[in-house]
C-alpha cells in the first residue's frame, strides 16, 4: 500500500512531504478499517481469556465464583493435591489420568480419522470433476444436524440393545451383548463420527491439487501401490494430513458433549473436568487454570502444525 502511495506522488522534493502525510493517513485508515474486527476479537476472545487468566490466580468462593484475593491454589491443584488427612503433597492423579485419557482418546480419534479419511478423500479426489461436489456434500451432511442428536444416534447404534448388538445376536455371533456404550471406545467412535469431515475436507483439498501424473510416474518407475502411497502421495499431501489432524485433535481434546453422553459419568475428559469445576465442584480458579492448560496444549499442537506446514510449503511450490 505504501508503494502505491509513493508511486502516485510526483518524484519532486515537495513530493516527499506529501508522501509522509499520505502514509500517515494510510496508517490511520488501516486501523479504522480493522477496528470492527479488532473489537470482536477483543471482546469475544482476548477479553474472556484475560478474565480466565485473572480468575485462575484468585481464591475460590464457597458457593462458586471467586474471592478477590491472590492465590496460586488454582494452578497448584491442576497437577498436585494435598491430602485431607495428613496434609502430605502428592500428584493430582485424578487430573493427570484425565489429561492422559484426553490425550490418548484425541490421538486415537485423530489416527482413526486419518485411516478412514485418507481413502475417502482419495476416492473423492479421483472421481470425475462433476461428481466431486456431490461426494463433498454427502461428507458435510452430518454438519447440518445438531451435535447432541448425532451423539444420541451413535448411542442408539452401540448400546446393549442397539443396532450392532441386536444384529450380532440375531446372527448368532455373540450370545450376550458387548458392552460398548460408556467406554473409551464409545467416546472415540462418537468423536470420530463428529470430526471425520474435518479430516476429509483438508485432505481432499490437498489431494485435489495432487498431480496424478506423478502417481503414474511412480508406477512407471517400478513403485508398487504401497510404494507410490508412501513415497509420492503421502509426502505431497502432507500439509493436508497435518491440517486435518490438527482440526480433529484440537476439538477432540476439548470435547464435552460426546464424552458426557457416550462415556457415562466415569470416563471424563478435560472438557468434563473443567465443566465440573465451574459447576458442582465450585472451584472456579481451578477450572480457569485447567482451561488455560488445555489452551496451552492446543497452542503447542498448532505451533507444530505451523512449523511443519511452512517447511513442506516451500518444497511443494514446484
Amino acid at each position: 500500500m505504501t508503494d502505491t502511495a509513493a508511486v502516485s506522488q510526483p518524484p519532486t522534493t515537495s513530493g516527499a512531504d506529501a508522501g509522509v502525510a499520505a502514509r500517515r493517513k494510510d496508517v490511520r485508515n488501516r486501523w479504522l478499517l480493522a477496528s470492527p474486527a479488532l473489537t470482536v476479537i477483543f471482546f469475544a476472545a482476548l477479553g474472556p481469556l484475560l478474565i480466565m487468566l485473572v480468575y485462575s490466580f484468585l481464591q475460590k468462593g464457597a458457593y462458586g465464583g471467586v474471592v478477590w484475593s491472590f492465590s496460586t491454589d488454582g494452578w497448584f491443584n491442576v497437577f498436585l493435591k494435598r491430602d485431607i488427612f495428613d496434609d502430605t503433597l502428592g500428584f493430582a492423579d485424578g487430573h493427570l489420568s484425565i489429561f492422559w485419557r484426553s490425550l490418548k482418546l484425541s490421538l486415537g480419534t485423530t489416527i482413526l480419522a486419518l485411516l478412514f479419511g485418507f481413502p475417502t478423500a482419495y476416492y473423492i479426489a479421483t472421481r470425475p470433476a462433476n461428481l466431486r461436489p456431490v461426494f463433498l456434500f454427502l461428507i458435510t451432511i452430518p454438519f447440518w444436524t445438531n451435535l447432541l442428536i448425532r451423539t444420541f444416534a451413535i448411542m442408539e447404534v452401540i448400546r446393549n440393545e442397539g443396532v450392532v448388538n441386536t444384529l450380532l445376536m440375531s446372527l448368532g455371533v455373540i450370545s450376550t451383548p458387548i458392552q460398548m456404550l460408556y467406554t473409551d471406545f464409545a467416546i472415540m467412535v462418537g468423536m470420530l463420527y463428529v470430526y471425520l469431515p474435518l479430516m476429509v475436507l483438508p485432505l481432499y483439498a490437498s489431494m485435489e491439487r495432487l498431480d496424478f501424473r506423478l502417481v503414474e510416474a511412480g508406477y512407471d518407475l517400478y513403485a508398487t501401490r504401497l510404494g507410490v502411497l508412501r513415497r509420492i502421495i503421502v509426502p505431497m499431501v502432507k500439509p493436508g494430513i497435518i491440517a486435518g489432524s490438527i482440526l480433529v485433535f484440537v476439538p477432540s481434546l476439548g470435547a464435552y458433549v460426546t464424552p458426557r453422553v457416550l462415556g457415562g459419568g466415569k470416563n471424563m475428559m478435560l472438557g468434563n473436568l473443567i465443566e465440573l469445576q465451574f459447576g458442582q465442584g465450585r472451584n472456579w480458579p481451578l477450572g480457569a487454570a485447567l482451561s488455560i492448560t488445555l489452551l496451552v496444549i492446543v497452542m503447542v499442537a498448532l505451533l507444530f502444525y505451523v512449523r511443519n506446514a511452512s517447511k513442506s510449503g516451500v518444497k511443494s511450490h514446484g
Binding site: 506423478l214 503414474e216 511412480g218 512407471d220 518407475l221 517400478y222 510404494g227 509420492i232 511450490h317
Partner: protein, 385 residues
C-alpha cells in the same frame, strides 16, 4: 517444410516384416480401446496392429485425438486394452501393471517428483527395484553424465529450467535400463531452438543406449527427422507404417499425404496396372495426358482414383503440347530458398509447384501467365482412398 529428402536419416528398416528370428520389441495385435460404456463411449483405438523392432526409433505420428497417446499408455500399462494383445519381446504384457513392465516413460509434463532432488528423481526407479545404494549412486552419476547434468545433482527440480527438467526426466526413465523407452510428446513444451537441440540429443541417447524408443508426436517434421520408422495414425487407426522416406514419397492414404508435407491432389482415371513393372500403373489425368504412377500396397480397382504429387516434384514451363497439365498462374510466393507457384488448372482444380531459386535470377513467371506443368517421372503416387 525443409526438404526431408536431404535429411536422409532412414536406415531402411522399411516393411512390417523383418527378419523372422528377430523378435519385435513390441508387438501390438488387433488392439482396441474403448473408453466408457453405452452410447457415450469413445473408441480411442480401433483394431490397431504394429510391430516395433529392437533398437528402433519408432514414432507414432498423428493429430491430437488420433489415439497415439492412448496406444503409448497401453504399452506403458497405465490403461489396458479392451481387446487384443500387446507383447513385449514375445511375452504378453497386456494386463500387467506398469510397475511390472521393463518399460519407462518420459512424460509430456516431465512429472518430476517435486519433493525430491534431481539425483533422487533419477535414482527412484532403481531404488524401487531394490538395488543397493552404491549401485544406485553409480548409475545416477552415469546418467547425469549422459544427459550432461552433473552440476545439477543436488538441485531441487523447481530450481532448474524446462530444458534441464527434460533431461532429468530422460535420465530418470533411462536409469533402470528399460527394454523400451516411451516418449509422450516430450519436446512440445520447449522453445524451437531447444527443441532442435533435444532432437539431436535424443537421437544420440538412442544410439548410445541401444534402447528401443517409441516416440509420440503431432509434429510431422520432428517425426521425419528423428525416426527410423513412422506409424501415421488418425481416428484410432494406423493408416501407414514405413520409413520417413516411404511415408513422404509413397503415401498410401489421402490423410497421410495431406498430413505430411504439402501435396497436390489430382483426380484421375486408373487405366491399367502393369503387374510386372514394379507396380506401375497407367493413369489418365483430367487434362487427358497419360502418366505412370506408383501403386500403394493392396489392390486398387481401375476407374476414378486420386493421385498425389509433391510440389517440388513438378516443373513450371511455358505451355507446350507435351505438358502434363496446363493452367494460369494465380499467385507467386517467394520463400528465399524456393518459390511457390499456385496454378489454376485448365481442367479445373489447383496445383502448386515449388522450384528452387537461383541467385539473383527471377523465375521468369508472372501472375496471369499461361503455364505448363511437367510432373517428374516416377513422382506420382496413387492413393488407396
Amino acid at each position: 517444410m525443409s526438404g526431408p529428402d536431404g535429411s536422409g536419416t532412414s536406415k531402411g528398416v522399411g516393411g512390417l516384416h523383418g527378419n523372422l528370428d528377430a523378435m519385435p520389441a513390441i508387438s501390438v495385435r488387433q488392439v482396441t480401446k474403448v473408453f466408457g460404456t453405452g452410447p457415450g463411449s469413445v473408441t480411442a483405438l480401433d483394431s490397431v496392429s504394429i510391430d516395433i523392432q529392437r533398437n528402433e526409433f519408432f514414432t507414432l505420428l498423428g493429430p491430437s485425438g488420433c489415439g497415439k497417446t492412448t496406444l503409448l499408455r497401453l504399452i506403458a500399462g497405465f490403461d489396458h486394452p479392451t481387446s487384443g494383445r500387446i507383447d513385449l519381446e514375445g511375452s504378453d504384457i497386456s494386463y500387467l501393471p506398469p510397475f511390472k513392465r521393463p518399460v519407462n516413460t518420459v512424460f509430456q509434463s516431465y512429472a518430476l517428483f517435486p519433493h525430491m532432488s534431481v539425483a533422487e528423481n533419477i535414482g527412484f526407479g532403481l531404488k524401487m527395484l531394490g538395488k543397493p545404494v552404491s549401485e544406485i549412486e553409480a548409475e545416477v552419476d552415469a546418467m547425469l553424465k549422459l544427459v550432461k547434468m552433473e552440476a545439477m545433482r543436488d538441485r531441487s527440480t523447481a530450481q532448474i529450467s524446462g530444458g534441464q527438467q527434460q533431461r532429468v526426466a530422460l535420465a530418470r526413465a533411462l536409469a533402470p535400463k528399460p527394454k523400451v523407452l516411451l516418449l509422450d510428446e516430450p519436446l512440445s513444451a520447449l522453445d524451437l531452438k531447444l527443441r532442435k537441440e533435444m532432437q539431436i540429443e535424443l537421437k544420440r541417447l538412442q544410439n548410445e543406449t541401444g534402447i528401443t524408443f517409441v516416440f509420440v508426436t503431432h509434429d510431422q517434421e520432428e517425426a521425419l527427422t528423428m525416426s527410423d520408422r513412422i506409424a501415421v495414425m488418425n481416428a484410432g487407426q494406423v493408416l501407414q507404417v514405413g520409413s520417413p522416406r516411404d511415408i513422404y514419397d509413397h503415401p498410401s492414404r489421402r490423410f497421410v499425404a495431406d498430413f505430411i508435407g504439402d501435396t497436390n491432389f489430382m483426380d484421375a482415371d486408373l487405366v491399367s496396372v502393369a503387374k510386372s513393372a514394379a507396380n506401375k500403373a497407367s493413369l489418365k489425368l483430367a487434362s487427358g495426358k497419360k502418366i505412370a504412377a506408383s501403386l500403394p500396397e493392396g489392390d486398387v480397382a481401375t476407374g476414378p482414383v486420386t493421385a498425389v504429387v509433391r510440389p517440388e516434384h513438378a516443373t513450371l514451363t511455358k505451355p507446350k503440347p507435351s505438358s502434363d497439365l496446363t493452367g494460369t498462374l494465380e499467385n507467386v510466393v517467394y520463400f528465399g530458398t524456393d518459390t511457390h507457384y499456385h496454378v489454376a488448372l485448365a481442367s479445373g482444380g489447383k496445383f502448386t509447384v515449388r522450384m528452387q531459386n537461383a541467385r539473383d535470377q527471377a523465375g521468369g513467371f508472372e501472375t496471369g501467365d499461361k503455364v505448363g506443368i511437367d510432373i517428374d517421372a516416377g513422382a506420382t503416387q496413387l492413393l488407396r482412398d
